[in-house]
């Protein structure tokens, strides 16, 4: 319910959404992606579509159908777009085309605005002559350094859209169509972000055998080289020379990531049995646990080497936690150095930033407070909905100033 967000973002913000939505009355916005469950896109759509409907926008959500080989190919595409080396054969492209053709024929498309999410359903644009007035491609992933083989395959489809939407400037490509920037968001009412009582926080920390007897530094991310968990331990050890504290590394390993176990083993080796280093393999769907671990922390760290948008940073900022994070991916959009957190570039820099915050709790609290406001203004779901409404309006108009 939109009303539930009023105490968080203010009545004016929700009123503004209603006002903007009023200008889309009668329009049908059809979202299409590859799955109803699992993954960030489905999570966003499952929250966004009902809220858009509540605002009076006729938003619909459909998914394409595909068999295992199709989704194996799209997984390969996903990895290749992210710059990972993948062996993609002509047969893979044929599998993709064949399933896409079937979906193009079978899927009921009826939107005034067709909002296609990610590469899997990209070929639906083949029906743009007969369906929809405007077609938008919402790219949730970073396509700045893609495998040229995959990008050359996707490019002809992308440029047929009226506009593309990216999550960060650095994720985009030079394209001959309009490109919009819409950051992702967190939902302050979800299990991962809702307010928790101190009792719940204490219970979760006890569950993972973490004592609050000293400051706790936490990084929440899967065990992946790109999240640099070993670098986190190195930075922690530098801090611990002068300040007694604990480190929590909480995350899982992706089921499709063969490196996950290897990274976890390296992390355990680096931890070397230090009782102040807690390496937690958190099971999937443990959103409340993650929420409590972040809330129970003194500082939240995100020392990634490469990052997507990095919404774990927004999650920590929303909990008013002082954050130290690497200036990669979408993190600089969230952490304005020395205003809403501290940015670092290496192990020593991270250790220095951590020490600064641990020895200056008032400064740390001020950064946390600013961070929470920054997220309230820019990274909550209400802002995301507003951007989508503006996008649907803007795509109908040319020019830089639009009067409604």
């Amino acid at each position: 319910m939109l009303r539930d967000y009023e105490p968080i973002v203010g009545k004016g913000t929700v009123e503004e959404l209603r006002l903007l939505a009023g200008h889309l009355s009668g329009k049908v916005v059809q979202n299409v992606n590859s799955t109803f469950v699992g993954g960030g896109v489905a999570e966003i759509l499952s929250r966004m579509v009902p809220l858009l409907n509540e605002l009076g926008v006729d938003a619909r959500w459909d998914v394409i159908k595909g068999n295992d080989p199709f989704f194996q190919v799209t997984k390969k595409f996903h990895n290749a777009i992210h710059g990972r080396s993948e062996d993609i054969t002509t047969q893979d492209f044929e599998v993709f085309l064949e399933t896409s053709k079937k979906n193009v024929q079978d899927l009921q498309l009826a939107g005034d605005i067709m909002f296609i999410h990610d590469p899997q359903p990209i070929a639906l644009i083949s029906r743009r002559k007969e369906v929809g007035k405007k077609w938008l491609w919402r790219c949730h992933i970073d396509v700045s350094q893609p495998s040229q083989q995959v990008w050359k395959f996707l490019h002809p489809y992308v440029i047929k859209y009226d506009a593309a939407v990216f999550s960060a400037p650095s994720f985009s490509q030079t394209l001959p169509i309009r490109q919009f920037l819409i950051s992702p968001s967190i939902d302050p009412l979800s299990d991962k972000n809702r307010e928790l009582s101190d009792d719940v926080v204490v219970a979760v920390l006890s569950k993972y055998k973490i004592s609050r007897d000293k400051p706790i530094i936490t990084q929440v991310s899967r065990f992946d080289y790109l999240k640099d968990p070993v670098g986190v331990i190195q930075a922690f050890k530098l801090v611990k020379r002068t300040i007694d504290c604990r480190l929590v590394l909480a995350g899982g390993t992706a089921s499709d990531d063969p490196e996950g176990d290897k990274v976890l083993a390296e992390v355990n080796t680096a931890a070397n049995g230090d009782p102040d280093i807690h390496v937690l393999l958190v099971p999937p769907n443990s959103d409340t646990d993650i929420n409590a671990l972040q809330r129970g922390s003194t500082i939240v760290l995100q020392k990634s080497i490469r990052e997507g948008f990095g919404l774990t940073v927004s999650e920590a900022l929303w909990k008013a936690k002082p954050v130290v994070a690497s200036a990669v991916g979408g993190i600089p959009l969230q952490v304005k150095n020395k205003f809403t957190g501290l940015l670092s570039h290496g192990v020593e820099g991270t250790a220095f930033a951590l020490k600064q915050l641990l020895t200056n709790p008032e400064y740390a609290a001020q950064l946390g407070k600013n961070g929470r406001e920054h997220v309230r203004q820019n990274f909550l779901i209400t802002r995301h909905i507003k951007d989508y409404l503006l996008l649907f309006l803007a795509v109908e108009h040319a020019g830089d100033i639009m009067h409604l």
């Binding site: 985009s172 920037l181 819409i182 503006l390 803007a394």
Partner: protein, 460 residues
């Protein structure tokens, strides 16, 4: 005839004595009435209270009837009429006296309420209601008195009436509270039609009228809200008094939202930054010099721009970064001239120090563009009171639009507030004071407070 004469002859005492008592009592009471009214008339002429005049005029006629009834009652008392006749006759006279007194008091109440209702500017509905309440109360009292005179059991009737009244009070307690609150508000004059009020419960605006149960308030969005009168007495009310000077044209507050577009252009170093900056449209310059104000309005009044931040952070040229960041945007009323100034600073630096280093990997400058969506809000102001109250309520985006965007991007040269205050209210001094503010040195919250204080000071 002969029978009647015979009866009188036989019972002359039974006729003559009561007749004499009646005549004597009538003369005495009329004499007394004349003296009393003469004195009262003299006293009334000396006073200026209207209620005295009403009292005299309303009682003058009925008092004659009272004299007759009292005389007749005395005559009846001395007569030797048989008891079965005497008792009903006495009760008829008592009943007539009761009705007469009730009618007289009703007339007195009607006239008094009419006079004071007009003086206190009671609404027609309140006045009618008060008269009806008085009339009903008198009728009930008269009936009860007559029942008592005729010896009927009064206790059970009183109990029933009391129960009915209690049930009525419980069922209509809100309505009763509203009615009395309406009477209280109009009698005390704390709130009048035309006043600008702000209720604790959130409603605010000009009071259109105060009715029997409800008051109507015209809000800032021109909607009319009906509030129960009890809310005017039970919750805190700020009454700002009568309207101020009306504007020739009302001020309508607009909202503004922005969606960001990617241009696909990016720079790795200072020469690239200058080259692209020269080519890009003004909407790009606007984005990179103004988005910080909106995105971080809660954070700092630091008037920064992305060019200065990037040059200092990514290229390591803090001196140039400072020069770019400290360009006084309040000096400019057009984006073209602002762009020219930024380019000239960069070019001057290039000619002096050369190209400098490239940005580290992943720190390129991405040129973004702002697309503004402007829409009307429900807030409309017809005078400075409405204006300042709307200013408290409009979104930060609306404030931003009227102060920054209209001046710089829409090329109006001046903020919308100063324009309206000068041209539609003739308040040139206030308009100039607002125009002299450098809004770039405030957070939006700070700017809002400062503007409100300035206007409040003027209207007080």
């Amino acid at each position: 005839m002969n029978l009647a004469i015979d009866w009188i002859a036989r019972n002359w005492q039974a006729v003559i004595i009561p007749g004499a008592v009646f005549a004597a009592a009538l003369m005495a009471s009329f004499w007394l009435r004349t003296i009393v009214y003469k004195r009262v008339d003299r006293w009334v002429r000396k006073t200026s209270r209207k209620v005295d005049d009403i009292l005299v005029s309303v009682t003058r006629g009925p008092s004659a009837l009272w004299c007759v009834l009292i005389s007749a009652y005395l005559a009846l008392a001395v007569s030797n009429m048989p008891q079965p006749w005497k008792i009903p006759a006495g009760r008829i006279m008592g009943s007539l006296l009761t009705v007469s007194i009730a009618l007289t008091i009703n007339g007195l109440a009607r006239e008094t309420l009419g006079f004071y209702g007009e003086r206190w500017k009671l609404s027609h509905g309140s006045l009618t209601l008060a008269k009806n309440v008085a009339r009903s109360t008198l009728a009930v009292l008269a009936v009860l008195t007559m029942l008592d005179i005729w010896g009927l059991p009064l206790t059970s009737i009183l109990v029933v009436l009391l129960l009915v009244a209690l049930v009525g009070v419980v069922v209509f307690r809100d309505a009763i509270a509203d009615v009395f609150a309406g009477l209280q508000v109009t009698a005390t004059g704390n709130v009048k039609a035309g006043d600008y009020v702000k209720l604790w419960s959130g409603e605010q605006g000009y009071v259109l009228d105060i009715g029997t149960r409800h008051a109507r308030i015209k809000g800032l969005d021109e909607s009319v809200t009906t509030v129960p009168n009890s809310r005017l007495t039970q919750s805190a009310v700020i009454n700002y008094g009568q309207p101020l000077k009306k504007a020739k044209e009302p001020f309508r507050f607009y909202g503004r939202a922005q969606i960001t577009e990617l241009t696909g252009l990016r720079a790795k170093n200072l020469p690239g930054l200058v080259d692209i900056l020269k080519q890009v449209p003004e909407s790009v310059v606007y984005y990179h010099t103004h988005h910080f104000l909106v995105d971080h309005h809660y954070l700092t009044p630091e008037p920064t721009n992305d060019f200065g931040v990037w040059v200092a952070d990514a290229l390591g040229d803090e001196a140039l970064g400072e020069r770019l960041a400290s360009v006084d945007m309040f000096e400019f009323t057009s984006l073209a001239s602002l762009k020219e100034r930024l380019v000239s600073i960069m070019e001057e630096c290039l000619s002096r120090k050369g190209a400098g280093r490239d940005a580290p990997e992943g720190r390129d400058f991405y040129f973004l563009k702002s697309t503004s969506v402007i829409f009307s809000t429900p807030y409309v102001a017809h005078d400075l009171r409405e204006f300042v109250e709307a200013l408290r309520n409009v979104s930060q985006d609306s404030l931003y639009f009227h102060v920054f965007e209209s001046r710089m991007r829409l090329g109006r040269g001046l903020n919308d507030f100063s324009n309206w205050i000068d041209q539609n209210l003739g308040e040139k001094d206030l308009a100039d004071r607002i125009a002299r503010f450098d809004p770039y040195t405030y957070t939006l919250g700070g700017l809002r407070s400062t503007l409100i204080q300035l206007i409040e000071k003027r209207i007080k």
